[in-house]
Amino acid sequence: MTTNDAKLTKKDFTSDREVRWCPGCGDYAILATVQTLLADAGARPESTVFVSGIGCSSRFPYYMDTYGIHSIHGRAPAVATGLAIARPDLDVWVITGDGDGLSIGGNHLMHALRRNVNLNILLFNNEIYGLTKGQYSPTSPLGSKHKSTPMGSLDRPINPVSLALGVEATYVARSIDTDRQHLTEAISGAYEHRGASFVEIYQNCNVFNDGAFMALKAPDQKEHNQIRLRQGEPITFGPDNEHAVVAEPDGSMSFMDTQEAGDRVVVHDANREEPTTAFALSRLSHNPTGPTPIGIFRDVDRPVYDDLLREQVQEAVDTKGEGQLTDLLSSGNVWDVDD
């Protein structure tokens, strides 16, 4: 049992269950990162709850020595919302994937984000259905050939960061499973943020979709393709920062030679109230096969749904006094019948 004073370690967040993801799965790296950062951030296992849906990523709670709910397909944000409303004292995390969070549970994800419920939502995006053994997912690139789409998928993929920004999520970040430091920053930011935070994590499924994120991970490619968003800094990328992101007159963004761009280079500001610029940034890539922004797209303060809900309850108590059952039952027209 832990006490409030003890300095915790990764071990304190690690359950005794054998981890059963496929060897080489990107989920291992994410698990280790989360266990470590929670210990470092001073989180308490007893005050931490991981809620998941269905899918490979959704086994995550079993491996955390915290409270946890392995719920049903797509519904984790809804379950977590109820818990967050009932218990302001808890850190509530949602672990989901591209199928769970964007397909069957797309509705709940959207509403948890727009309400700004105090949740940390980590979406493991591997662009494939893993647990059902390899069908295309809502983030698979157009034309993906998998078991259910032998002639190529026909539907345009969702850009998860665009979706989150579209519903005005207050904290939106993207990171990569194996980039420990970057991932720690993105998730730590989510942990610190009050309100709904959303982190898309590119996660490699080495069994059904190996190499989907090579453009951002391979040593010879990543420098060319990772557009690292740093607060207050001009957005440039490439081995010598030779490429820059510039705004176009139609509101979109494009790439330009840094020299040529001059002071047209967009300076990153995640704290901008308006999500428009962040949204335009998210449109720079649709599947990470070329230059792709990673980092914190948006981080703004806005009233939190569950805080507001509890404030209304308190306000009702303050104005009406604590409810008295006898008064409630006999409200309205009453009459007495005598013996």
Binding site: M1, T2, T3, S15, R17, P45, E46, S47, T48, V49, S52, P61, Y62, M64, D65, Y67, G68, I69, H70, S71, I72, R75, P77, A78, V79, A80, T81, G82, L83, I85, A86, R87, D89, L90, N107, H108, H111, L309, R310, Q312, V313, E315, A316, V317, T319, K320, E322, G323, L325, T326, L328, L329, S330, G332, N333, V334, W335, D336, V337, D338
Partner: protein, 631 residues
């Protein structure tokens, strides 16, 4: 019928009971008029039962049959149980209302029609080829043609002239004129309605004044015109002593939830998605936040129950409500709640189905859905409310079971109970069950080695520990996958699954050990026929039994509050009677269930009209059965 007094020109007739139905267009304010007449009757001390009946469309095309909205009130100086079969008085605000409701008016009954509305297009829209006020269609009734619209406008001439409201707004007060007239007919004071109007339109004093003026004009019209020879009076009913109020089923469920929250010391969390006819529970609870009530209007039905599972895990008294279509969406999550063994309540306010069905009409056809409609072997306790006010007690019972056994519980209500009102003898709050006694949060490890075993069960109830997040040392993970005994760890082992399945059944079955014996109503003690009912049919069944007993036929009756598990003494009881009849607003769902469980040849009496069934039809069914009883 007793003549109790005579005035110069008219007679006041004392009635034991009366059924009045207001019918008009959806926009005519019939529900409001009915509600107010109900309040007047309650304040006069009558026992009463109401039946609101309105279309699913908010404003169906004016003047059409589809747009007819009605409100029926049965009031009496006796103890009554149904809103009445056929009205004694029908108020028809337009031809469509007359077309739709005339058939049910008692022969010789009183008909008040708004003659202003009986013109060309309105008649055609209602399907009349000739004006029923002019041909001989109404000769069987005591017809009062009243120019309700004209009288209303005339009464409000001054208001219109002063620019306080326009003609259209003035016309809208005609329901109050009709109400004023009916109030006068039944010797009802209208002061209560006047003060209600003042409160309702507190921010629009002109509108309040216009409505009150119309109300008084209606009363005065009755008093001054000589068209009405009789007025009526229904004396107060001899109800058991106590303090009373009127309450609808939805209100009773909402109050029951608050009471369960207060009596358990748990904050109430209510997550739901709006659906007819359950939404009023959400509306009521949203007004009562000062009882530490959190209401969450979710994005859909699944999110609603999802949020409730989360809140239950966090230690709230967690509740969701819906109707059949929404329950269908919640079924997967109900299965999750049952394997996670979390206490929560799912209210199903049933309506006509299948699919969208009859959103505003009543039915009991979700029973098998609730008993069996989940994947896997998924037993959930089910309790049913039997009258509007019984919604309060049934809700507290659902909470008791949920908290004691750590399980989701379904509470069945229906569209009729939801919207109907009856007088409720208010309970003494201190006499309500103390729900703090039935559960305790686990705060210490319970395992032999100082570990926490989230599925180590209470040997008696088989309930598992309820350990809340925030409790150090009891961290645990639970979910939908099959669990190993005690530890709750994932287990796909064959023998374990079989054992856990049996255990989950046994856990529900043990609830029956704790139930009081069934109450059999068999006054003569020699009945050969047993009627078994559940839910909102109690009123009609009770009334029908009373009637056939008056005719010298002994019948016995039981009414089931618990549908899963069934009471332990039910089997023996059913087998004690040569004939068992099960009247239901469905195609025989409880009968099927009882046959399967007891092998008793339960006979069915089914009506699926979207209306509560009439006790007179049921009387005929019982009588038919009697002829089959072997001598």
């Amino acid at each position: 019928m007793l003549v109790s007094g005579t005035m110069a020109t008219r007679t006041t007739v004392r009635l034991s009971n009366a059924v009045v139905r207001f019918a008009g267009d959806s926009g005519d304010g019939m529900q409001l008029a009915g509600d107010q007449f109900t309040t007047q009757s309650a304040m006069a001390g009558n026992d009463l039962a109401t039946l609101p009946d309105f279309p699913a469309e908010i404003r169906a095309p004016a003047g059409t049959l589809a747009g007819v909205s009605s409100f029926q009130l049965h009031f009496s100086d006796q103890d009554i149980h149904t809103p009445g079969d056929a009205p004694d008085v029908l108020v028809a605000m337009n031809p469509a209302a007359l077309m739709k409701h005339l058939e049910s008016l008692k022969p010789g009954g009183t008909l008040i029609v708004n003659s202003d509305a009986f013109s060309g297009r309105n008649l055609t829209k209602a399907g009349y080829e000739s004006n029923p006020l002019e041909d001989d269609a109404l000769t069987d009734y005591q017809v009062h043609e009243v120019q309700i619209t004209t009288l209303t406008l005339r009464a409000l001439e001054g208001h219109i002239e002063r620019g306080e409201l326009n003609k259209k707004e003035a016309e809208r007060c005609k329901n109050m004129l009709a109400l004023g007239l009916v109030s006068w007919m039944f010797s009802r004071p209208i002061a209560e309605t006047e003060s209600w109007l003042q409160t309702k339109f507190a921010k629009k004093p002109d509108v309040a004044d216009a409505n009150i003026t119309a109300l008084r004009a209606g009363r005065n019209y009755g008093e001054t015109t000589e068209a009405f020879v009789f007025t009526y009076e229904v004396k107060p009913a001899k109800l058991p002593p106590g303090r009373y109020r009127n309450i609808t089923g939805n209100q009773a469920v909402a109050y029951g939830l608050i009471a369960a929250s207060v009596r358990s010391g748990l904050p109430l969390f209510y997550g739901s998605y709006p659906i007819t006819p359950a939404s009023d529970i959400l509306h009521e609870l949203a007004k009562q936040k000062h009882f530490d009530v959190s209401t969450f209007q979710a994005e859909d039905e699944i999110a609603a129950i999802g949020s409730v599972i989360g809140a239950a895990f966090g230690g709230s008294l967690a509740v969701t409500a819906s109707s059949g279509p929404g329950i269908a969406l919640k079924t997967e999550a109900m299965g999750l709640a049952l394997v996670m063994e979390l206490p929560l309540i799912v209210v199903n306010v049933q309506r006509g189905g299948p699919s969208t069905g009859l959103p505003t009409k009543t039915e009991q056809s979700d029973l098998l859905q609730i008993l069996h409609g989940r994947n896997g072997e998924a037993p959930i306790p089910v309790v049913a409310a039997s009258s509007p006010s019984d919604g309060f007690d049934a809700t507290i019972e659902a909470a008791r079971i949920a908290l004691t056994y750590r399980t989701p519980v379904v509470l069945l209500s229906d569209g009729y109970l939801a919207n109907s009102a009856e007088p409720w003898n208010l309970p003494d709050v201190d006499s309500l069950p103390d729900l703090t006694e039935v559960f305790a949060f686990t705060t210490e490890p319970n395992g032999p080695d100082g570990e926490f075993l989230p599925f180590l069960r209470d040997p008696e109830t088989l309930a598992r520990p309820w350990a809340l997040p925030g409790t150090a040392g009891l961290e645990h993970r639970i979910g939908g996958l099959e669990k190993e005994a005690d530890t709750g760890h994932i287990s796909y082992e064959a023998g374990n699954h079989h054992a856990q399945t049996l255990l989950r059944h046994e856990r529900v079955q043990r609830i029956a050990d704790d139930l009081p014996p069934l109450e059999v109503e068999d006054p003569s003690g020699d009945a050969q026929i047993l009627l078994v009912g559940w839910g909102s049919t109690e009123g009609p069944i009770r009334a029908a039994c009373h009637e056939v007993r008056q005719k010298g036929i002994p019948v016995a009756r039981i009414h089931l509050r618990h549908l899963s598990p069934l009471p332990n003494d039910l089997d023996e009881l059913l087998k004690a009677y040569p004939q068992v009849l099960c009247p239901e607003n469905n195609m025989g769902q409880l009968a099927m269930h009882l046959r399967a469980r007891t092998l008793v040849d339960v006979q069915t009496y089914d009506r699926v009209t979207g209306q509560p069934f009439s006790s007179s039809e049921l009387v005929e069914a019982i009588e038919a059965l009697v002829t089959e009883v072997p001598a």
